[in-house]
Subunit: 386 residues, 2 copies
């Protein structure tokens, strides 16, 4: 018997990240694979006094107190966004899914960075998106590349992660941010700007959202609380230009009615408390130390093997290997020696030009394991590089 | 400027239920419109000792403890379903959305009851489903109708709510449950069985899921905790036959990674506690009293205006009006007099034969308001009936 599924379902491939994360949760494994906050850095959750008020069904847009804090925060970034255009989502991943639902018909073209966030490739691919990857350099994409690709492909939208990008850690310069906005305004192509790492900053750089520079092109801005608080809560948000908002809210409603209210209520209280700034300062100090530890370890073990930049923020080092390497085979070998990384391949949207690379997360492993893990990975890669 | 959205997005219509629920949250309104649990019946939420363990990202399938309790419960219903085929969802609404993602391409046919749950019409419609409504009687759909519709339409799947159906409150007889299963087995058409009201039972009736009778046809069974605990938690679940499960998990992952863990952890503890049975007994007693109060009020005020059955379970009375009536206009009049109901129209999938009807919820209004609200609605409908 054959069951007729949607083309969407037939397009599903097994998720590498999912499989790897399961393996790396084995005790004793030093994992640089995920993008997980460190347990010792996450704030304690305290629901005292909140729980009973949020048992009932709630509004699809989200809790007013949380939306209001988000809108205030976006205003400080220069975004033209009132509270009426903030939608709380079940994690930032849902924002990506809603964008797919809103824009993507079978065969719709989407421009994005190469490499880019692999779960975006997966989530938009489910709707039948066809991708064109724009080569990403340390200072951003090339605005002329973008202009040419728009002219040639007429994409449904452009998806970018301009700040502390996943997987690369790269951060667009102010000049490129403005130039990208100009191209989008001239062509009226919507921008989906994914910005989950914004607040994890270890060295001052420009982080102005590209959305704030747009004068004409529609936009959706995706934000997350997972990286700075507790991802288990599954609370993220989006904001958008006026023309897109009501469609996004209705798609949110048909997806899951609304986001869990207890998580929203806790976040509204925590973000508005004195403890929040203290928590952020501590998180940034600890992650900054781990970043430095990884940079030092890489300098010791990867000089010959790879090129990289110490990221100004975010959670990742991106190593471009100097020799070609079957990084997936290397990962399998690494797992037998209780260390894990993310191979670079799945971050490249097909059919993009790929290069051998890996992504190393520095927030989750204890500092004393960073040197040991990096040394081990260098040794294994040395065996696999051609 | 025109933004190119997906056909999916262009299909969005304003959601009546959403608009009505907003109005009915005005203080002083007696609302029979929603399907909301009563605040005074919901269990208190207590996260003591749970919170910090569930801050990190979790498994897409859900928390093992909760999945295991769900699997045990499904086994007692006679369902052949191991814990490996239980997926925790962000409310039962997400289960419906995932089913749409899995099965529905543009123009796919879906058979469902007429009337049926309006948010299902909305959620599947977003994916381009075309509906064929099967007339629903008090003992279920007609299995011969089903057989003919399958032969003629070759649907992607059949969606049914056999137990305490929304909006009708009807409950399929055992004979019809078995006959429906036989037709599905003979034709290999998947069944999506939505069962959120199962545990709200005021009079003993057969409630065996139709899925348990299937020998060959694939199935997805959707369950909810919203009606018996606290909908604000947004935790529901699905179980499925083996061939469909991995696709559903991967679609869940690309939708929101996983369901919020705090809600899952609380539910696992509460469902496994002695307090749970006590809570259910109290909830059923209170809702049963409200059901009886509404039945008495209807007998006093609706004898001439409508036909109905006192439901054996669930949350709703469904009134089939004896004269044609513009129930939407009547609702607007009702709202000016601070009372609300759901007009029947949006529960009919287009292009189905409709009849004038309303849905009245009896769980949410305080008993002393039921008589007053029902009397007022009868008065207003008398003015609007032709």
């Amino acid at each position: 018997m054959t069951i007729r599924l949607s083309r969407r379902a037939e397009r599903l491939t097994s998720s590498l990240i999912r499989d790897i994360l399961q393996i790396t949760q084995r005790p004793g494994v030093i994992s640089f694979a995920g993008g997980l906050p460190a347990a010792e850095v996450m704030p304690p959750l305290d629901f005292e006094g909140l729980a009973d008020d949020y048992r009932q069904y709630g509004p699809s847009e989200g809790e007013p107190a949380l939306r209001s804090l988000i809108a205030q925060n976006l205003s400080t970034l220069g975004m033209d966004c009132s509270v009426e255009r903030v939608l709380v989502t079940s994690g930032s991943q849902q924002g990506i899914d809603l964008v797919g639902k809103l824009f993507v018909d079978e065969g719709a073209k989407v421009l994005l960075e190469a490499p880019t966030y692999l779960a975006t490739i997966q989530a938009l691919g489910v709707y039948g998106a066809e991708f064109k990857g724009l080569p990403l350099a340390a200072d951003g994409i090339d605005p002329d590349d973008l202009r040419r690709a728009i002219a040639y492909r007429r994409p449904a939208f452009v998806y970018l992660i301009p700040t502390f990008q996943n997987p690369s850690g790269f951060c667009y310069t102010d000049e490129i941010r403005r130039a990208v906005a100009k191209v989008l305004d001239e062509t009226d192509i919507p921008l989906v700007e994914d910005d989950p790492y914004r607040d994890l900053v270890y060295r001052p750089v420009d982080r102005t959202p590209i959305c704030t520079y747009l004068e004409r092109a529609p936009w959706v801005y995706l934000g997350s609380f997972s990286k700075i608080t507790a991802p288990g809560l599954r609370v993220g948000y989006l904001a958008s230009s006026p023309s897109l908002f009501s469609g996004l809210v209705r798609l949110k409603q048909s997806s899951d009615l609304h986001t869990n209210r207890i998580g929203q209520a806790w976040l509204a209280r925590f973000l508005g408390s004195a403890g929040f700034d203290e928590h952020m300062a501590r998180m940034i100090r600890i992650y900054g130390e781990r970043r430095d530890a990884m940079q030092a370890a890489l300098e010791r073990h990867f000089e010959e093997l790879a090129e990289w930049r110490a990221p100004a923020g975010g959670l990742f080092f991106w190593l471009r290997l100097t020799r070609e390497c079957d990084t997936l085979a290397a990962l399998h070998a690494a797992l037998t020696r209780d260390v894990a990384f993310m191979p670079g391949d799945p971050f490249f949207p097909a059919p993009a030009l790929r290069y051998s690379a890996l992504r190393l997360n520095f927030s989750h492993a204890a500092p004393e394991n960073i040197e040991r893990g990096v040394a081990l990975i260098a040794e294994i890669l040395g065996e696999f590089a051609k």
